[in-house]
């Protein structure tokens, strides 16, 4: 492979890759040698001894059933441990939001910057991407980081990586998404923390939570969800991350996906003790707006009077 190893997991994934490559090479060469050797020795009419021609050997067959099986299980264990790490972002990961559409990547940083087909990240810091699509399924693929995750229109999916080398890396769409699929590419720019801070400064904008706060009023959310409203609706302060009891008796954690559904598909989860009167905002909010609202809800939780220190 000529790919750079530009993330914290890349080298360990490559180790597994090269192990499998070595194993496959040994098996291939072994079988090839066996075929050639047997083919020459037992070519038709050769003088080789063909006595004792039993065509069953339970021991041999058990061996070449069990040895591959055990080997495969070992590889599975190795791979699945790596996989679990790849799927579990570190607690201190910095979140960046990605919205995909035919045929571009739109990136939204927490402090308000937006980019198209480019993603700026700081070196050495775990980054978690929370992604959704505006239309069809896409897939966010950065070969140098060895990460890929499909991006779906009906939910948030996420991936994380921790860049270990400054530079620019290719970003591809890996899931076929229509006519211009092969043009849906961009770049990930990994900068030193100092350069990244400069970049943040030079592109400063209103933060996502502030954008969300403005939307919260403009779209009329506050009319029902704030104290003193005439309509009875759940209090949203500190909602993000809390467990919510639902009318059907189940309990849901109010993660990003839950909040998104609550805004766009309010009938999906009815909070226990409330009437299903919330209108859907499907079609009235862009995916970026929904993300800004969620950022606002998260911040309002942090800002809410909270005497206990929070444990992440």
């Amino acid at each position: 492979m000529t790919l750079p190893q530009a993330s914290s997991e890349a080298a360990r994934i490559d180790t597994l890759f090269y192990f499998m490559l070595a194993l496959s090479t040994v098996v291939c060469v072994g079988v090839l040698i066996a075929i050639v050797w047997l083919g020459i020795k037992y070519r038709r009419g050769s003088p080789a001894d063909r006595g004792g021609r039993e065509q069953r050997d339970l021991g041999l067959e058990a061996a070449w059933t069990l040895i591959p099986l055990l080997l495969f299980i070992a590889i599975f264990v190795w791979s699945v441990k790596l996989w679990a790490e790849l799927r579990t972002p570190p607690a201190q990961a910095q979140t960046i939001y990605v919205v995909a559409r035919q045929w571009m990547w739109k990136v939204q940083h927490v402090n308000g910057q937006r980019e198209i087909n480019t993603l700026h990240v700081p070196l050495g810091r775990p980054i978690q991407l929370v992604m959704t699509s505006q239309d069809v399924i896409h897939s966010f693929y950065v070969p140098a980081f060895r990460v890929k995750q499909d991006v779906l229109p009906d939910r948030y999916t996420s991936l994380w990586f921790s860049p270990t080398r400054a530079g620019e890396y290719e970003l591809f769409c890996a899931e076929y998404c229509g006519t211009e699929h092969s043009h849906m590419h961009g770049r990930v720019v990994v900068q030193t923390p100092a350069a990244y801070a400069d970049w943040l400064q030079s592109h400063a904008r209103q933060g996502m939570a502030a954008q969300g706060a403005a939307l919260y009023r403009a779209m009329g959310c506050s009319g029902c969800h704030e104290d003193g409203a005439s309509v009875r609706a759940p209090d949203l302060r500190g909602i993000a991350g809390r467990s919510v009891a639902l009318a059907d008796g189940s309990i849901q954690v109010a993660d990003d996906g839950y909040l998104r559904d609550a805004i766009l598909l309010p009938r999906k989860h009815i909070v226990a003790g409330y009437q299903p009167i919330m209108p859907s905002y499907q079609g009235r909010l862009d995916p970026e707006d929904v993300l800004a609202l969620i950022a606002y809800l998260k911040q309002s939780g942090d800002a809410a009077a909270d005497p206990e220190p929070r444990n992440p």
Partner: protein, 530 residues
């Protein structure tokens, strides 16, 4: 010798006699002619794709035309060539002969399945050529249901119809194997080719209805706006992938199990050797057929499916590799103490073993979730499944065509040309597809009309290989057709093989056997007694 009835080819000679025939052998020929046509069309599409990819810029076709071309290639090759290839040609011809029967259990149903296949096939072909579809053969939602402006409904309905031909063939084979074996042909005396037909029939009958249902749901959503897969209508796009792969993963085994059967016959005959570990071979055919239904989620490790579901599908995918590994080792062990001759059939069979092994080993990379994350949806996957389906299934199909050609046509083919073609095919195939492993490991995504410059060298190599492969595929077409008129007349058993099909004449009479065939106590591979 009693009176000799005319061969099945000498019975009625008019076109009508062929079009209303109920003879399984003639129906096999009808299928062979049709799938050869589809193979040529799918191959032309492949050549256009490889031509386009010689340069990084999309300078031969528009993006839209390119997308329609790879969809055409996939749809035609999977549903109209690979799935029917061995079962409906070699299987149709050989299954009754190998078990000593006069015909299949339901001859009319057999003919009906050909007409359904042709009806669906020609209809789909017209839609693909006249309008085209740009969804890929996988029809992923919501792109296929709500965003593509091409003729998805028409093509989906064509594939829907062709599915019934698979189901009918499967039912027919199962009934034939259960009820029509000649006296003495017990289950564990069945040739492995018959076992593979049995396994594949089970998969066809159980999996194809799921495809039909899935395609019907797509049509329902596109036509009537019923929300099944489209999230805007309250549907779930991942549901489609689960349903689709629940069919399409077993479909991979529909393509490869028959090849395993063919290769077992070819290697034993060319090595004059009983198959090593007959029962293990039978159990691994059945094991693969059953386990094949439980691994579909390995297509979806990065789709957004639960992390724990992916772990389960990963371990199951490793487990299904075990019976495949056993088969490879047993084929090699069969050579031990044999009388091996490297005729064309054997070159094809050993080529199959090598390419299938490479395809299988790279499948392990993809079964390992952590590696699949970066490799999936790249050219690594394209190379992997072409090693299985083209390197594996097509090599075995052509090997089988050569091996049984004397029986089917009554003529010998030119052996030298056949060896040249087989060797060329092996070389051309590797040159075409091995570079694609490297492209994938380097991060080139699949289904790309244009690509970054750094991928060009390997793409040029791949396209060069494809041109060699095209010549290698054209050769058998030429010399086999030539042999129909000019080939030496074939003896009844030119390879001194042991299957019942070699006990009758070449080509066989209409009802296969003049006298009931004798099943050897050491059937089916009694080579040592020769």
């Amino acid at each position: 010798m009693s009176q000799t009835p005319p061969s099945y080819l000498q019975e009625g000679q008019r076109l009508r006699d062929w079009l209303v025939t109920r003879d399984h052998k003639r129906i096999a020929i009808l299928y062979a002619v049709a799938i050869t046509g589809f193979f040529i069309l799918g191959g032309i599409a492949a050549m256009l794709i490889r031509l386009e990819l010689i340069t990084p810029r999309g300078d031969l076709m528009s993006a839209q035309l390119y997308n329609k071309t790879f969809t055409f290639h996939g749809v035609v090759m999977v549903w109209f060539f690979l799935i029917p290839s061995i079962p409906n040609t070699l299987g149709n011809f050989l299954l009754p002969l190998m078990i000593g029967a006069r015909d299949v259990a339901f001859p009319r149903l057999n003919l009906a399945s050909w007409y359904i296949y042709m009806g669906g096939g020609v209809f789909t072909l017209v839609c693909l050529v006249a309008g085209g579809v740009d969804t890929g053969w996988t029809f992923y939602t919501p792109f296929s249901t709500m965003f593509s402006n091409t003729h998805v409904i028409l093509v989906a309905s064509g594939v829907f119809v062709v599915g019934f031909s698979s189901i009918l063939t499967g039912i027919n084979f199962i009934a034939t194997i259960h009820t029509m074996r000649v006296r003495g042909m017990t289950w564990f005396r069945l040739p492995l080719f018959v076992w593979s037909m049995y396994g594949v029939s089970l998969v066809m009958v159980l999996a194809t209805p799921v495809l039909a249902m899935t395609l019907a749901l797509i049509m329902l959503e596109r036509l009537a706006g019923v929300g099944i897969f489209d999230p805007a209508l309250g549907g779930d796009p991942l549901l489609f992938q689960h349903l689709f792969w629940f069919y399409s993963h077993p479909a991979v085994y529909i393509m490869i199990l028959p090849s395993m059967g063919v290769v077992s016959e070819l290697i034993t005959a060319s090595a004059r050797r009983r198959i090593f570990g007959y029962r293990f071979m039978v159990y691994s055919i059945l094991g693969i057929a059953v386990l094949g239904f439980f691994v579909w989620g390995h297509h979806m490790f990065v789709s957004g499916q639960s992390m724990y579901a992916s772990m389960l599908f990963s371990i199951l995918s490793f487990i299904i590799a075990v019976p495949s590994a056993v088969k490879v080792f047993n084929w090699v062990a069969t050579l031990h103490k044999g009388q091996i001759v490297f005729d064309a059939a054997m070159i094809y069979a050993l080529g199959f073993v090598g390419l299938f092994m490479l395809g299988g080993l790279t499948g392990l990379f993809l079964a390992a979730t952590a590696l699949d994350v970066s490799l999936t949806d790249t050219y690594f996957v394209v190379a992997h499944f072409h090693y299985i389906m083209v390197g594996g299934a097509v090599m075995a199909y052509l090997g089988g065509i050569h091996f049984w050609w004397p029986k089917v046509t009554g003529r010998m083919y030119p052996e030298i040309w056949a060896r040249i073609a087989a060797a060329m095919m092996f070389f051309g195939f590797n040159l075409t597809f091995f570079p694609q492993f490297l492209l994938g490991a380097d991060g080139m995504p699949r289904r790309y009309h244009e690509y970054p410059d750094r991928f060009q060298l390997l793409n040029v190599l791949s396209s060069a290989g494809a041109s060699i492969l095209a010549v290698a595929y054209a050769l058998p077409l030429c010399y086999l057709l030539w042999s129909l008129r000019h080939g030496a007349p074939a003896p009844d058993n030119p390879w001194e093989a042991r299957g019942l099909e070699w006990q009758t004449r070449s080509p066989p009479p209409k009802h296969n056997f003049v006298e009931p065939p004798q099943v050897d106590r050491d059937s089916p591979y009694a080579y040592e007694d020769a």
